[in-house]
């Protein structure tokens, strides 16, 4: 069972990675609005030459 001494800490390290990712995501505002992106994805229309300033290159941050 000595493999546990390797596997359990490794699992913990992976978990820590996920937690760090979550903290980063929430601090950059990715959970500020969880409803709109789902709709936005469904309703995208074909690319329009007029609309040069597409919203896609902006971050989701609420602090402009």
């Amino acid at each position: 069972m000595s493999v546990l001494y390797l596997m359990v800490p490794m699992a913990l390290v992976l978990g820590i990675g996920a937690v760090i990712a979550f903290i980063w995501a929430s601090k950059t505002g990715q959970y500020d609005d969880v409803d709109s992106p789902a709709h936005r994805m469904l309703h995208d229309d074909p690319p329009d030459p007029q609309a040069t300033d597409t919203p896609g290159n902006k971050t989701n941050s609420r602090t402009p």
Partner: protein, 816 residues
């Protein structure tokens, strides 16, 4: 167009933009000019996909666009308050668009850059119904953007001052991060605990056991020191200020449990309880987060109310007008209010003849006529002519501010609900080790070798889940199911209060009545009704619809139809000249004595709360139609069902007593519990009086009801309600009529019954488990097996309960 005549009747078709009935002579049909303007704006920008995306006809009416100019949005002081400059030289503002509610709205709004040149970006937040606009102020003023939004049917207003919002958003993000960390710690600690429990069963080598103890020590230290430190901070503050706070016992439990487990880990002897500690931190934080979110939604709506009064006023100074900030208005000042503006203060009309939209204060959407000498309130909107007003009350002393204050007070009164489950979990964490110690000491005298084992067994077998989870889980399940049925309940405590209620007080409009006019009586010649219906056949006005009802298939030729806005319509039908409209409009063509008697009668009708519509035929009085808000067909049935549930039903209404009495009679409500002609303040007093006799549910919709909604044990806001009503209400019903009210009562009672069953069951379980352990019958292994069983039992009882399972059918609406 995708929106063809799917819902149209033979004589009319649906308006392309809003779906209301419209004349079908043109290819894209419109019910009014507003819809035509909105449609052409959308179509010319190549955005007609909007109409395929949105889900008509259940989409319902689009809000009519107002005539507001939004000129104040270009004011430097407005910019200073609400607008941010971004790094690329653009301006940015976050606007609240309450009428946005679906994916199609979002799709259209995010294409704002194509509708208005100079707008760089528009981002929608659907849940909060906000729009972040970035635009070039040199290319286009903000007022134009707002006017475009208004044309599309989305009246816009700025959100609360920005610094406050930013702080709140930051706090929200921090809370989320804390919950994430606490959750991860709790999950890992639980995994290690499972290994250790399994070790008790299967046997475990000392090496891995030590590792698991140390690892759970590590994750729990993180949980306590980072997300959990808020409890210690609050507890310390509570000690310093000597005010008891729930975090004090929680902190004690955390420190005691943590200390015990730390010593056990260091010495390698005894049990560790790291899993319970980190789970406790996680559950408490998550619960508080959800509660906080709910409260914020309420305070947002109250803040929105404040934005309804303008920040500036036009003061008359000698012969000139000067724009002054609203704070500098004094009593006795004379101000001018242009058409479309909302009133900055309470006052008396000095000059001008107009009508005001008082829907904010009274919930009544029909414009109220006003003239010289009338009293008007801040927050109402001047619809007609320019008004001169002498200021009588400003700022905090206005009626609107008073109502807002009442709402806020009520919200504060309710906010610090100390969750029963919190307290229970805290008690358990303190009580468990104590009880375990007692068991261990008792057994020390009986059989020393089993002493520790049984102490541990007790710790494992006693199930805080069964007690602490049963209540909140049943409530949460109930809340979720209710939400799917269109009943938004703001908290579990509301379910309890609904279940205990014995009296339901209703506001008349929207619940008992249809909320649109109908011909209640026809005084005069019945034979001219088809002619009137034919004459009114081309307009979407509610009064015209009411006059048409029952005569939709009349096909008479109408000649020379002329509309006079706000007065009536004339035309020739079947060779007779008809004049249909307001008493004054028809009186002009009548002989004086007939006009006088007619006007006397119509004044009397108006006093009874009905709207008279007069029909003149060839210069003679033909008939008077009495229009009123009709009782819903299913109202009597629903009231009878509420009676059968043991509830008394009453009406508190601002309408004329005779109207309210008539409605009550038709709905089968006892006239002794029916009161009409009440002001918002009267309603509060009545509700408070009624509360003396037990719990009271109040159902209403307007801002005028907000204070009464807050004053009642349970405030229920109906579909069309204003935001203040929603903030003050505990329950929001997104369906019309009385059926959802019955669902609410039945569902709440079922939920409370389930909770009581669960509490009894888990009490019995815990008593049996503790007794069994005391008697030495339960070993740690057995305890580890039956503990999850009890949790699962409780969970399945809560999940399988029939709480809010079946919805009563909603009656069909003739005009969705």
């Amino acid at each position: 167009m995708p929106l063809d005549a799917a819902i149209a009747s033979p004589t009319t078709t649906a308006c392309v933009h809003c779906g209301l009935p419209a004349p079908d002579d043109d290819a894209p049909a419109f019910c009014c000019h507003g819809c035509e303007a909105a449609y052409s704006l959308i179509a010319t920008c190549g955005l007609d996909r909007y109409y395929t995306l949105r889900d008509t006809p259940e989409h319902g009416e689009l809000p009519a666009s107002s005539d507001h100019t939004y000129a104040e949005m270009d004011d430097p002081s407005y910019h200073a308050r609400h607008v941010i400059m971004t790094r690329d030289g653009l301006h940015a503002i976050e606007l609240s668009l309450p009428s946005m509610h679906c994916g199609a709205c979002m799709w259209l709004l995010e294409r704002l850059p194509r509708l208005v040149r100079g707008v760089a970006e528009a981002r929608v937040n659907l849940r909060q119904a906000t729009l972040l606009v970035r635009w070039d102020n040199r290319a286009v003023p903000l007022s134009r953007i707002a006017r475009t939004l208004d044309t599309l049917g989305y009246p816009a207003r700025a959100l609360a001052p920005d610094s406050q919002r930013q702080a709140r958003i930051a706090a929200n993000r921090r809370d989320l991060a804390h919950i994430g960390v606490a959750g991860a710690c709790a999950g890992n600690a639980m995994l290690y605990a499972i290994c250790l429990y399994a070790g008790l069963f299967e046997g475990i080598e000392p090496g891995p056991a030590t590792m698991f103890r140390w690892l759970s020590l590590c994750v729990t230290s993180v949980a306590l020191a980072w997300p959990g430190r808020v409890f210690f901070a609050n507890a310390w503050a509570s000690i310093r200020t000597r005010t008891p706070h729930l975090d004090l016992p929680i902190s004690f439990a955390l420190i005691a449990g943590g200390g015990w487990s730390l010593i056990a880990t260091l010495t390698g002897k005894g049990e560790v309880y790291f899993d319970s500690l980190s789970v406790l931190v996680f559950i408490l934080l998550a619960g508080r987060y959800l509660q906080k979110r709910r409260q914020q939604a309420g305070s947002d709506a109250v803040a929105a109310l404040f934005t309804l009064t303008p920040t500036r006023a036009r003061r008359v100074e000698g012969n000139s007008l000067r724009e002054v900030p609203i704070e500098s208005l004094a009593l006795g000042d004379e101000i001018e209010v242009r058409a479309g503006d909302s009133l900055p203060a309470d006052g008396v009309i000095l000059a001008g003849d107009s009508s005001v939209d008082q829907s904010l204060l009274t919930g009544e959407s029909r414009p109220a006529p006003i003239g010289v000498g009338s009293r008007v309130c801040a927050g109402t909107v001047n619809l007609g002519d320019v008004l001169r007003i002498r200021v009588e009350k400003t700022g905090d002393s206005t009626r609107l501010a008073g109502i807002v204050r009442l709402v806020e007070q009520a919200a504060q009164r309710r906010a610090p609900i100390v969750l029963f489950a919190d307290r229970l979990a805290g008690l358990f964490t303190v009580g468990m080790p104590a009880l375990a110690a007692i068991v261990a000491i008792i057994w020390l005298f009986i059989e020393p070798s089993r002493s520790v084992e049984l102490g541990v067994a007790l710790l494992v077998v006693t199930c805080p889940c069964a007690l602490g989870l049963a209540t909140p889980l049943t409530l949460v399940v109930g809340l979720g199911r209710a939400a799917r049925q269109g009943l938004l309940i703001k908290g579990g405590d509301v379910i309890q209060r609904v279940a205990e209620s014995r009296l339901i007080l209703l506001d008349k409009t929207g619940t008992l009545t249809l909320g649109r006019p109908r011909v209640c009586a026809w005084e005069g010649d019945e034979s001219i009704r088809p002619l009137v219906a034919a004459l009114e056949g081309r307009t979407a006005h509610p009064v015209a619809q009411a006059l048409r009802e029952g005569y939709e298939h009349v096909a008479l030729h109408v000649e020379k139809a002329t509309h006079t806005t706000g007065a009536g319509v004339t035309g020739v039908v079947a060779g007779r000249t008809l004049r249909v409209g307001s008493p004054a409009f028809v009186a002009r063509t009548l002989v004086p004595h007939e006009a006088a008697s007619m006007l006397a009668r119509t004044t009397q009708i108006a006093r009874e709360g009905l709207t008279p519509v007069v029909v003149g035929v060839d210069g003679v009085l033909g008939a008077i139609a009495l229009l009123g808000d009709d009782v819903r067909p299913e109202a009597a049935d629903a009231v009878a069902r509420l009676h059968a549930l043991g509830l008394r039903v009453g009406i508190l209404s601002g309408d004329h007593p005779s109207v309210v009495d008539a409605v009550a009679r038709r709905a089968g409500i006892d006239s002794s519990s029916v009161v009409g002609g009440l002001s918002p303040e009267d309603k509060v007093a009545r509700v408070q009086l009624a509360r003396g006799g037990g719990r009271v549910v109040f159902v209403g919709d307007g801002v005028n009801d907000a204070a009464a909604l807050a004053a009642a044990d349970v405030g229920v806001a109906m579909q069309t309600g204003a935001e203040a009503a929603l903030a003050a209400a505990d329950v929001y019903i997104a369906r019309r009529g009385l059926a959802p009210l019955i669902d609410l009562v039945v569902g709440s009672r079922t939920a409370m019954r389930t909770i009581r069953q669960n509490l009894v069951a888990s009490f019995i379980y815990n008593v049996l488990a503790v007794t069994g352990t005391l008697l030495g019958l339960v070993t740690p292994l057995l305890a580890a097996l039956i503990m999850p069983m009890s949790s699962i039992t409780v969970l399945s009882v809560a999940l399988r309960s029939r709480t809010f399972r079946e919805a009563s059918p909603t009656p069909p609406e003739s005009h969705p």
